[in-house]
C-alpha cells in the first residue's frame, strides 16, 4: 500500500443506533404510560368529558378514603420498621456470628423474595387464625371458650405478614454491605477489649447505614403497594389504598373513584420510588 496519496476522508456516518430504543419504549408507552395517562384523565374528568375536580375533592374528603390512607401509611411505616429490625438482627448474626449452614439459610431467606406474598398470609391463618394452631393449642391447654389470639385480623396481622415477606429485601443489601466490613478491624477492636455492642455501634452500623436506608425505602415502597396480603387476610377493618382501588373498580364498578384513588396511590409510590433511587444512588447501586 503506497503512502503517497492521502485518500479523502470518508463522509462521517451517522450512527443509526439512536432509534433502536424506539420499539421497547413504544411497547412500554402503549401498555403502561398510555393507560397511566388515561387514569389521570379519568380522575379529573366527569362523564361529559369536561375537566372537573369536584369528584376528586369529594373522594379526598371521604371517610373511606382517609381511613385507607391512614391504614396504608401506618402499615407501611410499621412494617418497614419491623423489616429493618428483623433484617438487622438476622444480618448481624449471619454475617458476624455465623454457624454451620448459615450460608444455606441466608440463601433460603433470599428465595422468599421470589415467592408470592399471599403465601405467608395463608400460612398465618393456619397458625394464628381463630381456628389456627396457636388458638387451638391455647384453648385446649387452658380450656378457653373463645380464641384468645386475635391479632391476625387487625392491622398487626398485616404488619407481621409484611415483615416476613419484605425483610429479605433489607437483608440482601445489608449482607452485601457487611461483607465489605473489614474483619481485621473488628478483630483489632475486640483484641483491644471493645465489647461486641460497641463494635456494632461504632464499626458495623456506620457501614450498614446506606444499605439500611436503601432497603428501608424499598420496603416503604413495596408495603405501600402491597395487595395480596391485605386481600387474603380480608379483615373488614383493614382496607388499604390498593385494596380500595380493587374494590371500587371490580366490586362497585366505580371506575372514576378507583382512578382518583389510583392517582393518589401512584403519586405516593412514585415519591417513595424517588426516595429509594436517591438512597440507592448514594449507596452506589
Amino acid at each position: 500500500m503506497a503512502d503517497a496519496a492521502v485518500l479523502p476522508a470518508p463522509i462521517a456516518k451517522k450512527v443509526p443506533g439512536r432509534f433502536w430504543i424506539v420499539p421497547p419504549a413504544a411497547l412500554l408507552a402503549l401498555l403502561f404510560f398510555y393507560p397511566l395517562v388515561l387514569i389521570v384523565q379519568q380522575a379529573f374528568m366527569d362523564d361529559s368529558g369536561m375537566a372537573n375536580v369536584g369528584e376528586f375533592v369529594r373522594v379526598l374528603h371521604a371517610r373511606f378514603f382517609l381511613n385507607a390512607l391512614i391504614n396504608t401509611i401506618t402499615i407501611s411505616v410499621a412494617a418497614t420498621a419491623g423489616c429493618l429490625i428483623v433484617g438487622l438482627v438476622l444480618g448481624l448474626i449471619l454475617a458476624f456470628v455465623p454457624f454451620p449452614g448459615s450460608g444455606v439459610i441466608a440463601r433460603l431467606i433470599d428465595t422468599f423474595i421470589a415467592l408470592p406474598t399471599f403465601l405467608v398470609t395463608l400460612a398465618f391463618t393456619f397458625l394464628y387464625g381463630s381456628a389456627g394452631m396457636l388458638n387451638a393449642g391455647l384453648m385446649e391447654a387452658f380450656s378457653l371458650q373463645a380464641p384468645p389470639v386475635n391479632f391476625l385480623y387487625s392491622t398487626w396481622g398485616v404488619v407481621l405478614a409484611e415483615v416476613t415477606v419484605y425483610s429479605p429485601f433489607v437483608l440482601r443489601p445489608l449482607l452485601a454491605a457487611f461483607s465489605l466490613v473489614d474483619r481485621g478491624q473488628i478483630e483489632a477492636a475486640s483484641v483491644l477489649g471493645a465489647r461486641p455492642f460497641r463494635i456494632v455501634r461504632q464499626v458495623i452500623l456506620p457501614a450498614a447505614v446506606p444499605a439500611l436506608i436503601a432497603g428501608g425505602s424499598l420496603c416503604l415502597l413495596l408495603t405501600v403497594n402491597e395487595f395480596g396480603i391485605v386481600l387474603f387476610i380480608g379483615a373488614k377493618g383493614v382496607i388499604t389504598l390498593p385494596l380500595l382501588i380493587y374494590s371500587k373498580a371490580i366490586q362497585e364498578s366505580a371506575y372514576q373513584v378507583a382512578c382518583i384513588i389510583a392517582v393518589i396511590n401512584i403519586a405516593l409510590s412514585l415519591g417513595l420510588f424517588g426516595l429509594y433511587r436517591f438512597a440507592a444512588g448514594r449507596l452506589g447501586a
Binding site: 500500500m1 492521502v6 485518500l7
Partner: protein, 382 residues
C-alpha cells in the same frame, strides 16, 4: 533465529513476506480529545513509521490510552485527523480500521476456547475456513502457544493469556498493532520474559507497526525504536530511544526515562572543541558537558546518570565534584550511594568501590566523563 510459524511451507513464507511489507505508518495530525470541557489530549502531531515500535510513556492520566484509543476508533477526536497508511481513518468505525489491539487485562472471550479466540477476527470478517485454520496455527505458534488451542482462557496463566491475546491480534494481519500496558498485570519475572518475547516477535515480523503504551520505562527502553513521553495530554519529548536517554531535551524526560542527577549549573562558555562540550560552573567546580546551544550566563541543568558517577577518577573522568556522603546501600552487584552536593542530593550507582569505603558524613570526590553528561534546560512549567 527461527520463526516457528513460518518454516516449512511456501504459502506461509509468502504470508510472512506480506506481513513484512504490510506495515503502515500512523499519523496523528493535530489530534485533540476532550471529555466535555476537559481537554485530555492537546493537539498532537506525531508520526509512527512503518515497522516502527513507538513507545508512548508517561505518568498515569497523561493521555496515553486516550491517544491509543483514538487510533483504534473508540474516542472521537475533537479536532485533527488520524491517518493509517494512505487512509484517513478519523471517521471510520473501529471494525473497518484493520488494527490489532491488546489491552491490559487481556480481555480474552471467556466463553471461547483459545483457538476460537484467535479465530475471532477472521470469522468476524468472513474469512474462509482453510485460511482461518492456517492463521490460527501460525499465530499460536508465533507466540509459542500451539499446545493450548483447546483450552479455555481461565485455564491459562496471566502470561499465557497475554500471549493468546497477542496471537488473536496478529491473526487478522493488522496494519498496526496497538498495545495498551500489555504487561502491567503480570508479575515482574514474567514481565521481563514477555518484554523479550515481544522484542523477538518484532524481529520476526519486522514490518509490523506497533504503538506500545506503557508507564514502565524499562519496557520502553528495551523495545522501542522511538519513544514519545506524554505529560498532561501533550508530548513532552519524542525521539529515538537511545537519543532521548542520552540527551534528554528537558528535565521531565531526564527524570522519567531512567534515573538522573540534575545539577543546577551556570554556563560559562558555549560549545567548543571537537566534541562540542560547553563549560559550566557548579559552585567552584568547572565542569564540561554535552551542549545544546547554551550561551554563557545561561542557568541550566547538568544531567548525569547515577551509573556514570565514580568515586575513583582516571584520565577520562575529567569532571570532578565533591559531596558529603549521606547514605550507603549495598545491594550485592551494585552499591547505591547518596551524596549531598551543594544542597542537591546526588545518587551514585557504583559497581566498583574504593578498597576502604569512606565514612558517612565524610567529604568525597565524584568523577565523571564529559561525554556521559548533557545539559538539560529546566522545564517551562512545574
Amino acid at each position: 533465529m527461527s520463526v516457528p510459524a513460518f518454516t516449512g511451507s511456501n504459502v506461509m513464507d509468502v504470508d510472512a513476506a506480506k506481513i513484512r511489507g504490510a506495515g503502515s505508518n500512523v499519523h496523528f495530525d493535530k489530534v485533540s480529545v476532550a471529555y466535555g470541557a476537559h481537554v485530555v489530549l492537546h493537539p498532537l502531531t506525531l508520526d509512527i513509521a512503518p515497522g516502527e515500535i513507538l513507545a508512548m510513556i508517561g505518568p498515569s492520566g497523561s493521555g496515553k490510552t486516550t491517544a491509543l484509543r483514538a487510533v483504534a476508533g473508540f474516542v472521537r477526536p475533537a479536532s485533527g485527523r488520524i491517518r493509517i497508511g494512505a487512509t484517513d481513518v478519523t471517521d471510520l468505525p473501529p471494525y473497518e480500521r484493520g488494527l490489532g489491539m491488546v489491552v491490559q487485562n487481556y480481555a480474552l472471550f471467556p466463553h471461547m476456547r483459545v483457538e476460537d479466540n484467535v479465530a475471532f477476527g477472521l470469522r468476524a470478517q468472513g474469512a474462509d475456513k482453510a485460511l482461518i485454520g492456517e492463521r490460527v496455527k501460525d499465530s499460536l505458534a508465533t507466540v509459542g502457544m500451539s499446545g493450548f488451542a483447546k483450552r479455555y482462557p481461565r485455564e491459562l496463566s496471566g502470561g499465557q493469556q497475554q500471549r493468546v491475546a497477542i496471537a488473536r491480534a496478529l491473526a487478522v494481519r493488522p496494519r498496526v498493532l496497538l498495545l495498551d500496558e500489555p504487561l502491567s498485570a503480570l508479575d515482574a519475572q514474567i514481565r521481563r520474559n514477555m518484554v523479550e518475547e515481544i522484542a523477538k516477535l518484532h524481529r520476526d515480523l519486522p514490518g509490523l507497526t506497533i504503538l506500545y503504551v506503557t508507564h514502565d520505562q524499562t519496557e520502553a527502553l528495551t523495545l522501542a525504536d522511538k519513544i514519545a513521553i506524554m505529560r498532561d495530554g501533550r508530548v513532552s519529548s519524542h525521539g529515538p530511544t537511545a537519543e532521548l536517554y542520552r540527551r534528554p531535551p528537558n528535565r521531565f524526560t531526564a527524570e522519567f526515562l531512567g534515573r538522573a542527577n540534575l545539577l543546577p549549573v551556570t554556563v560559562t562558555e558555549g560549545a567548543t572543541g571537537p566534541k562540542g562540550f560547553a563549560k559550566a560552573k557548579l559552585g567552584d567546580a568547572l565542569l564540561a558537558g554535552a551542549a545544546r546551544g547554551e550561551k554563557p550566563g545561561d542557568k541550566t541543568l547538568l544531567c548525569i546518570r547515577p551509573q556514570h558517577l565514580s568515586l575513583t577518577g582516571d584520565e577520562e573522568h575529567t569532571n570532578r565534584i565533591v559531596g558529603t556522603l549521606k547514605e550507603v546501600h549495598w545491594q550485592g552487584e551494585l552499591t547505591h550511594l547518596v551524596l549531598d552536593v551543594d544542597g542537591t542530593p546526588v545518587r551514585v550507582s557504583a559497581t566498583r568501590l574504593p578498597v576502604s569505603l569512606p565514612e558517612r558524613g565524610s567529604v568525597v570526590p565524584l568523577f565523571f566523563a564529559p561525554g556521559d553528561t548533557s545539559l538539560v534546560p529546566e522545564d517551562a512549567r512545574g
